[in-house]
Assembly symmetry: C2
Homo-oligomer: 198 residues x 2
């Protein structure tokens, strides 16, 4: 049986990552209510898995009739000094976030779930990557904000775009920072679902 | 004066990386004679800078009349246990390389030169990134070789393609493994050539 891979994410970056695996897939954008999950009292790696899980569950409602469907969902958060950074509300908040990230390391967590409709089997895991920023001048930060890139990004930067030039180095999985660890996903598909990429 | 950026590399991956910086550039493929440089008696970081330097010099011959030209060149080598891995000659050599990389770390060095025609100013630097491979079964290695991806890649893998699924984690700059550290190049352009990306 050839599975129908469903990506439960509207992110163009996650689409590119799945495509880089050579996977054929359909995108199902779900109306997951992320406010149903709280970051209070749980560790970031559990929190981000829960965010991914509601996305998978919301997509499952839409594709429930497809017995060959296997849903892949993911969510990414940026954590700096114990504080979760979401998408900045405005330029000033973007400036505050980037100033806080300047010159040291923070963590990016991506939670990813694979959910098989046929039997409900679901495997979630989260991965953390350390990202170290260069020392950024205020001027540099404002010029980066002026490019428009920070607006819709958690932590106010995108590592795969111009934001890559703010980054000194990473420790861990790069794609995990972009939005999904292709390497960890391949392991999960292989070991838990017997789906081989190659 | 607006500089004319020249990329002295035929690599589609380096083209994509420069494009991701938002840079406008022209590609000049040079006929650099890499055999003029020897790895004997020099450290890998110096060797790879020399490889990048001959590429820049060969391109300079072609664009010498353009006083606004600024050449960017790069070369990448994979070093495993002190041994430089080039492109595999055949499937068996690809298998031997990937078997040698399996289950532990190796280093990828990229040397990058920026050469300004106007005054000959040239700045070269090299960066090393640690790449840690998963433990790979023989079967997995042969299936990866069968995808055709290893054939034209130093070290017999491409991290930005299916080969990313062989990688456990990296320590350092990701783009440096793909073929050019966009982050380090931006620093060089800014500090040494007063060229600002943003």
């Amino acid at each position: 049986m050839k599975e129908h891979i469903i990506l439960a994410s509207a992110s163009p970056r996650r689409r590119e990552l799945l495509s880089s695996m050579g996977l054929e897939y359909k995108v199902v954008v779900s109306d997951a209510d992320e406010s149903a999950v709280s970051a209070e009292g749980v560790s970031p790696d559990i929190y981000v898995q829960e965010l991914a899980l509601i996305k998978a569950a919301a997509a499952a409602k839409q594709v429930m009739k497809d017995r060959k469907a296997v849903i892949i969902s993911a969510d990414t958060i940026v954590v700096n000094g114990g504080k979760i950074l979401g998408k900045p509300a405005d330029a000033q908040e973007a400036f505050d976030m980037l100033s806080a990230l300047s010159g040291h390391g923070h963590k990016v967590y991506t939670g990813c779930c694979v959910m098989r409709i046929r039997d409900g089997k679901t495997v979630c895991r989260s991965i953390a990557t350390d990202v170290y920023f260069k020392e950024l001048s205020e001027d540099k930060i404002w010029r980066y904000i002026a490019t428009g890139e920070p607006a819709d990004k958690a932590g106010a930067y995108g590592i795969q775009g111009l934001g890559g030039m703010l980054v000194e180095r990473i420790d861990g999985d790069y794609q995990n920072v972009v939005g999904l660890s292709v390497s960890a996903l391949a392991d999960t598909l292989e070991k838990d679902f017997d789906i081989y990429i190659f």
